[in-house]
């Protein structure tokens, strides 16, 4: 063909995929940065793990970064089942089940309420809805300390002070602003026509919520779940202020172990306790991290 004459050297010229150096400058920059960043993010975890596996004498030697010469699981055992809180020397295990007892209903109730709120705000706007929502967002900024007393009084008035359900309410209240924001944004991003179709089909508020919206909302529920589990599991202040010792969550023991000012600090036990306490949220992150990102992308942020 004529073209062959025009490009005699065609066969020797670039053909197929562009050759890419594995170590292009770009890649070096990208992966270099990421590695540095990963180092920064992993360093504390490394320190925690390493320390928690050392004995006290080794820790006194100083270098917190050096790997343990002699690995011991003693601190973990101690943190879990022996460390004392006042007179109770059964470690974190004592609060673990309390934490579960608190976290599970709090997460469920707060998510249920916030999702219904978000749904109502997105699809069933009523007069003043925007105003309430603005107040909610305002609430997101209120430091918890400020609300500590008013809430004590409110709980006292409704007779739930010191009970598990009182605490659940508190978590629901403080989780509400951000969760409602997330749910509202998410439901807003769902096609409105779906909602209209369901109304024409005669479905009411609840039926649309349960049969149409809920099944489509897995990603945002995962996001909400992760945020709430993290927040509630790690909560110390509310858990201790609004309940009684027999309900104290694990963080109270963690605080007791970590913050016992007097006496020698057992750093290895501290670290082990820290890791143990963080385990539940961490596991949830590692397991559902992908869904988390997808959920956020799916509507937590309005694009």
């Amino acid at each position: 063909m004529a073209d062959t004459a025009v490009h005699p050297a065609a066969s020797s010229e670039p053909r197929g995929p562009k050759p890419r150096k594995k170590l292009s400058r770009n890649n070096i920059i990208i992966y270099g940065t990421l590695l540095v960043v990963a180092f920064y993010y992993l360093l504390p975890l490394y320190v925690m793990v390493v320390t928690s596996l050392k004995g006290m004498p080794e820790i006194r030697l100083g270098n917190i970064f050096s790997p343990p010469v002699e690995i011991t699981f003693e601190p973990w055992v101690k943190a879990w089942s022996q460390a004392c809180t006042g007179l109770n020397c059964d470690g974190l295990s004592r609060g673990f089940w309390n934490s579960i007892r608190i976290t599970v209903p709090s997460v469920i109730v707060s998510i249920v309420i916030a999702s219904v709120n978000g749904y109502a705000l997105a699809n069933w706007k009523f007069k003043g809805a925007d105003a309430f929502f603005t107040i909610l967002i305002f609430g997101a900024f209120i430091p918890y300390q400020v609300m500590l007393y008013p809430i004590v009084i409110m709980l006292r008035e409704i007779g739930l002070y010191g009970t598990l359900w009182g605490l659940v309410i508190v978590h629901t209240i403080f989780g509400m602003p951000i969760l409602t924001l997330l749910f509202r944004n998410y439901f807003t991003s769902l096609p409105e026509e779906l909602f209209k179709a369901a109304r024409v089909d005669g479905a009411g508020f609840w039926r649309i919520y349960f049969q149409i919206m809920l099944p489509m909302s897995l990603p945002i529920f995962v996001v909400a779940m992760i945020l709430q589990v993290t927040g509630i599991w790690n909560d110390f202040l509310f858990g201790v202020v609004y309940t009684k010792p027999d309900l104290y969550p694990m963080t109270v023991q963690l605080n007791n172990i970590v913050n016992s000012v007097q006496g020698v600090k057992e750093y290895n036990v501290n670290m082990a306790a820290t890791l143990l306490t963080g385990l539940v949220p961490l596991v949830i992150y590692f397991v559902s991290g992908k869904l988390f990102v997808r959920g956020i992308a799916a509507g937590a942020v309005k694009g």
């Binding site: 990208i30 992966y31 990421l34 960043v37 990963a38 920064y40 993010y41 975890l45 320190v47 100083g62 270098n63 309420i113 219904v116 749904y119 109502a120 705000l121 069933w124 009523f126 007069k127 925007d130 309430f132 603005t134 107040i135 909610l136 967002i137 305002f138 609430g139 900024f141 430091p143 300390q145 400020v146 609300m147 008013p150 809430i151 409110m154 509400m176 602003p177 951000i178 409602t180 924001l181 944004n185 409105e192 009411g204 508020f205 609840w206 993290t230 790690n234 110390f236 820290t274 306490t277 963080g278 949220p281 961490l282 949830i284 992150y285 988390f292 992308a297 942020v301 309005k302 694009g303």
Partner: protein, 296 residues
């Protein structure tokens, strides 16, 4: 019956019923609590709220207290740095993640995991790592750089930045994810157009993509700003406000005076100042969100 315009109050009853918890929370807890706080900031309540009106005395004292002024300054420095740094770092990380890299999941998890930990933990670990005796400084000195100085938590001038290091460690992961979500929401054709125009990647991000991500930035801003205003645990766990009063924060002032100093009036006055400051942030937000453009 249906020919009459029904009373608006009784339309969509289930929606209104379902919103009752929200309405109660908004009105009773957030509004009511705030107003109650403001009211009692005008009293000289000590351990228990008591209606002993003293006018603006508490505010006078508040603003003549150096610690409060320093707290405000600190919050400002911390807030500005945190906002800028977390947005910049979060965005850069998200941009890196967006380069179709290998091991994206791994890197993302690494960056996100600190968010799962409580501030008690964050504070403790970073206090340790930044400790000049056995933290980074001692390691580097051990390597032979004996004049190396890195003790942010022990130097009043820069202690706030030591807090920042830990705050960023914990917070940027979430921001990165938000930004990543925003980036993934950008029309791919914009990228193609920019490539055909020969615009370098960094310029595309800077001049085209970032301006397009305004809604993401607003959501992120709300989240970050809320956490900045509330910053308390991190300070307590890491420095306790020290050295000196160099890392004091308003929320800590509130707490210390309400419970440590057993001077509720003073604590409430400080709270009120914070609430007013928050209004300054939230009102423009509400305006952006609801003002002008209405959605069907």
């Amino acid at each position: 019956m249906s020919s009459e315009r029904p009373n608006g109050l009784f339309r969509n009853i289930p929606a209104k019923v379902a919103a009752i918890p929200m309405i109660i929370t908004a009105l009773v807890v957030f509004m009511g609590g705030s107003l109650w706080t403001m009211a009692y900031s005008l009293t000289k309540s000590k351990l228990l709220p008591k209606w002993k009106f003293v006018g603006l005395d508490q505010y006078e004292r508040l603003w003549s207290t150096k610690r409060w002024v320093v707290s405000i300054e600190n919050l400002f420095i911390y807030g500005v740095c945190m906002l800028i740094a977390s947005f910049v770092i979060g965005f850069i990380l998200a941009a890196l993640m967006d380069q179709k890299i290998r091991f994206e999941n791994t890197f993302r998890t690494i960056i996100l995991y600190p968010f799962a930990l409580s501030f008690i933990v964050t504070g403790l670990v970073w206090q340790w790592i930044l400790n000049p005796e056995f933290g980074i400084q001692s390691i580097i000195r051990g390597l032979g750089f004996t004049s190396f100085e890195f003790d942010p938590l022990y130097n009043a001038d820069i202690a706030i930045y030591g807090i920042l290091i830990a705050g960023l460690w914990q917070g940027t992961g979430l921001i990165m994810v938000l930004m990543l979500a925003g980036l993934r929401g950008i029309d791919q054709e914009i990228w193609k157009a920019a490539k055909v125009d020969g615009i370098p990647t960094w310029k595309t991000y800077l001049f085209i993509v970032i301006p397009m991500m305004r809604p993401v930035f607003i959501t992120t801003l709300v989240l970050v700003a809320a956490s900045i205003v509330k910053v308390y645990d991190l300070i307590v766990a890491q420095t306790g406000g020290g050295p000196g009063i160099s890392t004091e924060m308003p929320a800590k002032y509130v707490y210390d005076y309400m419970f440590g100093g057993q001077n509720l009036g003073q604590g409430f006055a400080a709270s009120t100042m914070m609430l007013l400051a928050v209004l300054v942030v939230v009102i423009p937000w509400a305006y952006l969100e609801f003002g002008g453009k209405k959605r069907g």
